[in-house]
Symmetry: C2
Subunit: 197 residues, 2 copies
DNA sequence: GCAGTAGGTTACTCGAAGTAAGTTACGAGC
DNA sequence: GCTCGTAACTTACTTCGAGTAACCTACTGC
């Protein structure tokens, strides 16, 4: 099997087993066996167990970025922008419970580079939110804009975990909840009182 | 040395080394050596490496609960309650950067029981917030109250991480930022328009 | 002064990460 | 239609750290 294809397969299997049993409880031999290949192949392609984990996170991160970018492309104002971004995020989580569990639970593992990779995902999001906020309210204190972006990301992430425990809550409702809490605080900062829906 | 005292010392040392190097990169031999005792003593008192980690988290959790309870004891209304609770949390983080790093980064490790212990801390907080919200706005949708509590906890946690990267931001300012974003959204749910400061 | 126990140690086992060295499959060039 | 090179793969190790069995020691109450 060609390298690229084999790597993708390894990531898929690893993601599944990591999510199932946890990073620590999973052995490379087990992953290798389920892939149908021997352990040194994993090391050939990913260097280490940690490298394999990072590969999983990285793939999810890329996918999330692409979906979010597509979703917000046509947003007209800050409210719609925020709403569409949040919705894209919650939908991604909803479709990828496995990878999401991996990101939140396993990846925060002591492994420093995996930590960085996860922080990279958050950075993607805070940057995006910070940028849109700054572009719509140019006179805002940059530090406060940054804090705001962090708050939104934290709130969203936490609500995503909560959503998993609450089957009746889907992406749309989760988005509403976050917007309900957060939007009034932002609207006050906008130049004109924002004629929101 | 008596058992209780030795255990406390072990927790202190373990917390420090875990926070420094990460859970995975730390060996029990190393902790034992730095405590000045042999490895089986750690197993005698904590059962496993995971047990030691859980001990660290549990101690921090207890301390946080006590400090928060003391801080909010005299709160007059929902706004003051929230503000004092947030402030107590950020002050705790500020004083315990080490344990906080441990909680956020290491404890989320694949180890399921450590995961539960950390979730317990969040549960403490969401319960508290949910309870106060329900008591002040009895007619609120319970699901929405729950979502709100999760949002506040997520936002707060994330902002605490951010605060560590931003030395100029202290507990007071962090509290302000969170309140600025969150309070307007809550105030709308209250029976009367809340004459906030 | 002896018994029981709290607090401690040395010296192992065992499992899993990581590696060295070698093997097979297979397309390109003659 | 053979052979050279390389991509894909394996077997058989080493090493390191979690966890344990078995043994030691000093103090306290009687």
């Amino acid at each position: 099997m060609p390298k690229a294809q084999r790597m993708a397969q390894m990531l898929t299997v690893a993601e599944e087993i990591f999510a199932e049993q946890g990073y620590l409880a999973t052995s490379m031999d087990e992953i290798a066996e389920r892939v149908g290949v021997s352990k040194p192949m994993l090391y050939e392609y990913f260097g280490s167990k940690e490298g394999l984990l990072i590969g999983c996170i990285h793939r999810a991160r890329t996918e999330l970025r692409e979906k979010t970018a597509a979703a917000i492309a046509g947003a007209a104002g800050p409210e719609e922008f925020l709403r569409l971004g949040l919705l894209a995020f919650f939908e991604f989580i909803d479709e990828h419970r496995r990878s999401w569990a991996l990101l939140r639970q396993e990846a925060a593992v002591a492994v420093p580079s995996a930590q960085e990779e996860v922080e990279g995902i958050r950075q993607q999001q805070t940057d995006m939110i910070g940028a849109v906020l700054a572009s719509f309210t140019p006179e805002i204190d940059p530090l406060e804009a940054e804090a705001f972006a962090e708050i939104v990301v934290g709130a969203t992430e936490r609500l995503a975990v909560w959503m998993e425990r609450r089957p009746s809550v889907g992406p749309a409702l989760a988005t509403d909840y976050v917007m309900n809490v957060i939007w009034p605080g932002v609207a006050r900062k906008l130049p004109e009182p924002a004629p929101h829906a």
